[in-house]
Amino acid sequence: MLRYLTPAIAALALGALFWFALHRIGNGTLDVREIKSPLIGRAAPTFTLPLVMDPAQRFDSHSMAGKVYVVNVWGTWCPACREEHESLISLSRITGVPFVGIDWKDDNAEANRYLAQLGNPYQTVVADAEGRVAIDWGVYGAPETFLVSKDGKVLAKYAGALTEAVWAEKFAPLVSQQGGAP
């Protein structure tokens, strides 16, 4: 009899796994869609790109050495970026962590108009017109936000519109581990 019960017990165990998975997805402690970037824990890709505000000048990511900072990949063509824009503005103001914006495959004039209209959360915004740097960062789609440590390592990545809640949960603890904003 017991031998014949094995399949039923295995099915119950499988059901329990499914139940816990659904339960954790339901209360938000499990996110199967979260994609962990292979970059996490590794050196952040370096880049030198022209500024959106003044393409004659270039920004070198080495200038951020020794600081905790955020890299946010966005574009004026991306509706979810518009959605997170207000949160970016308030987060950059409240936390004091510098935000570096990478304007991905975009039109410079449009980007300037967008920032003038909606406000500018970024300390620096650079134009990645060809999308090469975004490839180095392994960007799937905009917006994506990265946190970089003082010694230049990628600490965290978030794909999708950033919110205060996401910041508080994912980024804030890492920033305080680094000794807070510079």
Binding site: M1, Y4, G15
Partner: protein, 654 residues
């Protein structure tokens, strides 16, 4: 008013399905003739009302009734009629209605074609199908009704996911569901047998044609899905081991094992409890697939919009059916004893090995599919299990299976004297190896991958071995039963399929290049000349950029291909439409990629030798199933073992 009629029809169908379940199972239990006779009427009623509801949803799509949320989300004024109809099953809610429609159709077919079965057995089978219907209809009504209104109504729909706007994908889900849901029939037969506490000697003969029918639909459905992925996703791959693909492949493996084990149970009265277990597994794996696709526990490119609430409901259904049936199994199976033994070398032992290998493959694929979820659950890290794992767990059991298949077809029941056939089998094997070497070294000038020769030789061996029996009988003017012919055809198809895989896996050439008008690239002796591009090519609901490519070989023109990048207007999603030149021995595949600026484009060029044989093989396999299903003995009337059946049977399915 119209969509409310749809909801009403579903509610009536739910009540009738409950009646079908109750009268079927309770009627047989307490031996109430009038209850059992009511079951057939209930089955017809369920079918009529579900079909009515299905018709209403289809009608709402045709007339653009955007007051229905489901229609507004999945259709658009510019969507062509064919895709408006296919959009009915284009997302979660409607595809669930399709599930129920197909379930009720299977039940109706069983009711029509099983009048010669003992009344109580037939009532139980239909009763079990009724209980399944209750589960899924209430799931639809309570969590996923496609008939819900959206007020105020949208003026324009959000369009069908562009990825689904394709002829193959319009018929792929119905075919696949026929297979998925069809496994419920074998399941119902198994449960009916266990409820009655005994397996009728004819039980497997009744179950076999239904199992084969469902398995055949599943085969065609999976093949269509693979074919679609090949030309529509623009990657040129034909199988990705995606969780959703695995969800369809696992029931296929279990059904394949079931068909073979049913053969043993029918001919020799052996493997009874194993056969019952497989019937439960095949349906359970279909349910697990449904759960995985719709609950959002796994990440997949095909997954429906997910919702843990719905997931809980399906999980409840899943546990009820699977754990319930397995408990019933644990209770009844010990009383099923074997009616006899068999020798080590016999058809039985070959089929036993076949079952063990198919079952192991299904379990290993299940393990790989669920492993990421398991790791994630216990915070052991996020991983994805990909082709390297699946290719191995698939190849290791299936290569021996090819040899077993080739030899086992010639083994007799009880005790096989393979010696008489050994000489011929060795000759076929030798010929297959020789031909495999000619193909690899002679034709492709390379030994390919480590398993290339094994693959070609295995495929050829099975094809040759499958032909022996039909050819011998034809030559001796002996008749061949449809059942035997079907087996030979299906096994021949497997050989063709294996040759296709071996060819494309070993000798494909894929090249991603940057090209502009006037550029040309060579692969596998073919020259791909990028002629020109045309922008703003209008489609019904998209605008395309088209690239024209001319392919030549040794200066002679082989084909003109055009490939498009389609920008869908509403969902603003770019889709690649590949250009493919087909010949008997290869496909040439061109897909347009991104605009790199400066009049250059990224282009994906591929040479795919023998790739067509993968799907041709699958179709031959399904054809074998169709032939076997039509065997004469499945249509013969069985002696009626219980009295007073005919009075009700006549009027039952009116």
């Amino acid at each position: 008013m119209i969509p409310e009629l749809g909801t009403l029809a579903m509610v009536i169908a739910l009540l009738l399905a409950a009646a079908q379940g109750f009268f079927g199972i309770a009627g047989a239990h307490w031996n109430r003739q009038s209850w059992m006779q009511a079951v057939g009427t209930a089955v017809t009623g369920v079918w009529v009302f579900v079909t009515f509801a299905f018709g209403i949803l289809t009608y709402s799509f045709i007339v653009h009734d955007y007051s229905i949320a489901y229609v507004a989300t999945n259709s658009n004024d510019e969507l062509p009629l064919m895709y408006r109809i296919a959009a009915v099953w284009g997302a979660h809610e409607g595809s669930l209605l399709l599930w129920i429609e197909i379930l009720s159709t299977w039940a109706l077919l069983v009711a029509i074609f099983s009048k010669s079965l003992p009344v109580a057995f037939r009532a139980r089978v239909l009763g079990v199908l009724g209980v399944i219907g209750v589960g899924f209809t209430s799931f639809t009504l309570l969590t996923s009704s496609p008939f819900l209104r959206e007020i105020p109504a949208k003026l324009e729909g959000a369009d069908l996911n562009p990825i689904l706007q394709d002829p193959a994908l319009a018929i792929h889900p119905p075919m696949l569901y026929m297979g998925y849901v069809g496994t419920s029939v074998a399941f119902a037969f198994a449960i009916a047998a266990m409820l009655s506490g005994r397996i009728d000697p004819s039980w497997s003969r009744w179950t076999r044609p239904w199992t084969v029918a469902a398995w055949m639909c599943l085969t065609v459905g999976i093949a269509l899905g693979s074919w679609w992925a090949y030309y529509e996703l623009g990657w040129g791959g034909w199988w990705f081991w995606d969780p959703v693909e695995n969800a369809s492949f696992m029931p296929w493996l279990a059904s394949t094992a079931l068909i073979h084990s049913l053969a043993v149970t029918e001919k020799r009265g052996l493997f009874k409890s194993w056969t019952l277990l497989l019937a439960i597994f095949a349906f359970s794996l279909s349910l697990v697939g449904t759960f995985l696709v719709r609950s959002g526990v796994l990440v997949s490119v095909h997954a429906f919009a997910s919702d843990p609430q719905r997931g809980m409901f399906i999980l409840g259904l899943l546990l009820f059916f699977i754990v319930g049936s397995l408990t019933l199994y644990a209770w009844r199976a010990p009383s099923l004893k074997m009616d006899g033994g068999f020798e080590t070398v016999s058809r039985e032992s070959f089929l036993l090995l076949n079952n063990a290998l198919l079952f192991a493959t299904a379990l290993l694929i299940l393990l790989g599919t669920l492993w990421p979820l398991f790791m994630d659950m216990f915070n052991l890290g996020k991983i994805s299990v990909g082709p390297p794992y699946f290719n191995i767990v698939f190849l290791v059991p299936t290569l021996p299976l090819l040899v077993l298949m080739g030899v086992g077809m010639h083994a007799a029941w009880r005790r096989a004297a393979l010696a008489s056939r050994a000489r011929m089998l060795w000759m076929i094997a030798g010929g297959a190896v020789l031909l495999a070497l000619v193909i690899t070294l002679g034709f492709y000038h390379s030994i390919g991958l480590p398993l290339t020769v094994v693959g070609f030789a295995g495929g050829l061996f099975v094809m040759g071995s499958a032909l022996v029996d039909p050819v011998t009988r034809l030559r001796n003017r002996q008749p061949i039963s449809r059942s035997a012919l079907g087996m030979a055809v299906a096994h021949f198809g497997i050989g063709v399929f294996v040759i296709g895989i071996s060819g494309v896996a070993s000798y494909k050439i894929e090249k991603d290049v940057s090209m502009g008008p006037g550029d040309s690239t060579q692969i596998a002796g073919y020259t791909f000349n990028f002629k020109d591009t045309r922008t703003n090519v209008p489609g019904p609901n998209y605008v395309a950029t088209q690239a024209n490519v001319e392919i030549t070989r040794d200066g002679a023109k082989v084909a003109d291909l055009s490939t498009e990048k389609r920008q869908f207007k509403i969902q603003s999603m770019p889709m690649t439409h590949a250009g493919i030149a087909v010949a008997w021995n290869r496909d040439l595949f061109v897909a347009l990629g991104d605009d790199l600026g400066a009049n250059k484009w990224s282009m994906r060029l591929q040479y795919k030798p023998l790739v067509r044989y993968i799907w041709i093989g699958a179709v031959i396999v399904a054809l074998g199933g169709l032939i076997a299903m039509m065997d004469r003995r499945y249509r013969a009337k069985v002696p009626v073992t219980e009295p007073a059946t005919d009075a009700g049977a006549a009027g039952r399915v009116a």
